[in-house]
């Protein structure tokens, strides 16, 4: 049985008829233009599906779309503002913090939430914050460095198009 579900994603209300069992990650990904949020393990372990819910990182494979109604969801597409990359995106670019890119959307959102709360995190604090996200490629070193870069360049703008 379908019900009407409205989720506010990146500031816009998205309304669709869905079964209540629709997971937030799929609700997001089935919205045109919003496939940036990835889904990997499906078991709340890998962190590829992390989005912000009222500013806090959550694993969207373990939240029902219906549970997200009335809350503000922000996805990786919501990081860029007026054509300018968010400092965490710029940091990943500058410091080569991705290879295949599968974990990247979740890493970026987790990093954004960390910096919103703690603008000057230590390496240990960064490692703790991303401990719920798995990267199979980079060995994390560059990811940690990129998040530090973002902390040091809070007003970074895209340098090269």
């Amino acid at each position: 049985m379908s019900v009407q579900i409205t989720v506010n994603i990146n500031g816009e209300d998205v309304t669709r008829e869905e079964e209540p069992r629709k997971l937030l990650v799929h609700f997001i990904r089935e919205t045109p233009g919003l496939t940036g949020t990835h889904w990997g393990c499906d078991t709340s372990n890998c962190g590829a599906c992390v989005v912000l819910m009222d500013g806090e990182p959550v694993k969207s494979c373990t939240v029902l779309a219906a549970m997200a109604e009335g809350h503000a969801i922000r996805t990786v597409e919501g990081l860029e503002r007026d054509g300018r990359l968010d400092p965490v995106q710029q940091g990943f670019h500058e410091l080569h913090a991705l290879q295949c890119g599968f974990c990247t959307p979740g890493m970026l959102m987790t990093a954004r939430a960390l910096l919103d709360e703690n603008p000057d995190p230590t390496e240990a604090e960064i490692r703790t914050a991303i401990s719920g996200a798995i990267c199979r490629c980079t060995g994390y070193k560059n990811i940690v460095a990129a998040i530090r870069w973002a902390a040091e360049h809070p007003a970074a703008v895209e340098q090269e198009a």
């Binding site: 992390v50 694993k59 219906a66 549970m67 009335g70």
Partner: protein, 292 residues
Amino acid sequence: MQTPAPFEYERATSLAGAIAALHDGDGDARVIAGGHSLLPMMKLRLATPERLIDLGDLEDELSYIREEPGEIRIGALTRHVDLLRSQVLAEQFPVFRDAEEVIADPVVRNRGTIGGSLCQADPGEDLSAVCAALKASVVLRGPAGERVVGMDGFHLGPYVTVVGFDEILTEIRIAKRPHGGSAYEKVERRAGDFAIGAAAAALNISGGTIVAAGVALRALAPTTVEIKRAEELLRGSRPSEELFAQAGEIAAADCAPTADGRGPVDYKRHLAGVLTKRALRRAAARALQKEA
């Protein structure tokens, strides 16, 4: 793709309404709090509720850590992240912070709640041991009103508690006692995983003598085990390394681990002993700091 079996969904607008919905569901309805145990179970078809009652909108009412004159009261919808950051708990019952630092990962901790943790009653879940060592009690509300149940009578077995199908756990209560110290020790395979074994200890020390003791293990038996013989040994004794080693030996003997992917029985018994000793040592140090 893993998707739960179909169900109907409703948002509770009041506690009484949620209880009535559970009652009408006659065993086929379930509440969902953080969903971080229930949704994985539903994806695996280990749980197939026909109706989900989302407690999310009751957060204002049921998420709190309140310091009363004689006790601390924690609302059932309080999330792991709030338990981890609570100054009141860090001061009164540091065992919470010890445990929360190693429960799942920070993103999971943003969603999972204390009520969901206790009611899920996973043998490896951590907060049950914390609450058992602190001799906490829980408030269960059903159609007929409220009842208060001690943690020692809360678990009936793995994944089974005394919570009735039409009852909701609303609050956890922990009595404050003077000169208390508490600590949690856990060993896991990797960061964020459920325990191979874990021990919670709480002591109250007055005039150099232990006047109250709680020792509880998790993941080392089908459900939480309180090590009563160790508690008896500790009460009335003076804290010492030998005493804690003896308590550890009792814990190793009295737990009931099973062999699984996390390790064989003899290793888990060894863990029970070592973790009990370490937790007691740290709990005592914290209690003595307060007495000084």
